[in-house]
Assembly symmetry: C2
Homo-oligomer: 231 residues x 2
């Protein structure tokens, strides 16, 4: 049923041969936060770096493929994944349809050591292809925006964390300082946190309380309510 052909008419390009077909290409922008820096996982070394990528797989959803791409190229399991944007581009004379994904992953011992993949500071990226740069640029835009109205930043932190660590993550991403009291009030009020009874002692100062977030709480995630009058 899906085959109703339509008057598309425009196809001047590619004059001679049979129809050119685009290559479909998934690219994943995997973020983490370490040491107050926002990092991206890049495949290759600083000379020849690129976003982790792969082609689509029949009978597998794109989301699943993206998830596997991250796993294969980093050995890590991302905590949050979202499709970004799809763009058509010709590069090195290859026509590609690029489906961009954004992924978030906690910083952890293993996260640091990757084979074939390096973490690069977002503010100091190596030379990349135009398409990779576009995908990254958009991923950053979306990450920052989303931070405002969702709680995705939690996915960048380990299972338990202090409020200061959480705040640092926010500040790294936004590139701006936040007010401690307002931050805490807000994040507590939002109800996503669950206080453990543990503390972390570290340095000659008062120990910090550790929190988790509730698995449940990650609701619609991205809708903004509004116009929410009663009748």
């Amino acid at each position: 049923m899906a085959t109703t052909e339509q008057p598309v008419t425009k196809e001047p390009v590619n004059s001679g041969r049979e129809a050119e077909t685009p290559r479909v290409d998934l690219r994943t922008v995997l973020f983490t936060v370490a040491d107050a820096k926002l990092l991206i996982a890049l495949h290759g070394n600083r000379e020849k770096a690129a976003l982790p990528r792969s082609g689509p797989v029949p009978n597998e959803s794109l989301d699943t493929t993206a998830r596997r791409t991250i796993r294969d190229s980093t050995g890590l399991q991302e905590q949050y994944l979202e499709q970004l944007y799809t763009l058509g581009i010709r590069e090195a004379n290859i026509w590609s349809i690029i489906v961009g994904y954004i992924g978030l992953i906690p910083l952890s011992p293993e996260t640091a050591a990757l084979s074939g993949t390096t973490w690069c500071d977002v503010n100091d990226l190596p030379k990349l292809s135009d398409s990779d740069e576009r995908v990254i640029e958009y991923a950053l835009l979306r990450l920052r925006a989303k931070l405002g109205y969702t709680n995705i930043a939690f996915h960048l932190l380990p299972r338990s964390f202090t409020l200061t660590e959480l705040q640092n993550a926010y500040e790294s991403i936004l590139g701006r300082r936040l007010d401690k009291r307002n931050f805490r009030r807000r994040v507590i009020a939002s109800g996503i946190l669950q206080g453990t009874n543990e503390q972390r002692r570290e340095g000659s100062h008062r120990p910090a309380a550790l929190y988790r977030f509730r698995a449940e709480h990650d609701p619609g995630d991205y809708l903004t309510p509004m116009w929410a009058e009663e009748a």
Copy 2:
């Protein structure tokens, strides 16, 4: 949205031969509002209906292709266009990568008369393919959500309109009534409107003032600021 999972028709299909390549397919969900109903442009008749679609074109951005798809299949020029989501699906044994688009267009005299395309009430759609239904479902979700934090609804109205018409458009999309005074205060305060000095006389009651919106005012359109403290 967080990882919108896609059901995948699990099938052994195509095991032996060389790599199967997906077909890329753009689909456009074009909305308008008429008579307090939210309508979608469908190609074909009620028996065999489908979303306007087309394949990608080399050296043309997907957005441009989508725009052209709308123009070709409806003869209309949409006022607002945005990419939605890309999904991989196998349907009728064809493996497709479907890129969904949402478009908004004002209701106008011409809008009514289309060749080969019909406007269907969102609440009374004919039978469509699974993929079309998914694209539409998502388009609706996004349209409603976006209405909350942007001004896209304006793109559904003709050049000049009364505040009541504008409010009706909102109510049609949201499927909910809004308070007249709050609605007006808000929309006026937002500054997107520009009062013309004309009025519309219609029926035995007080005539309504006509407004336009300023071309300029339709900024970033979809970002939500927040965490906007000073330092």
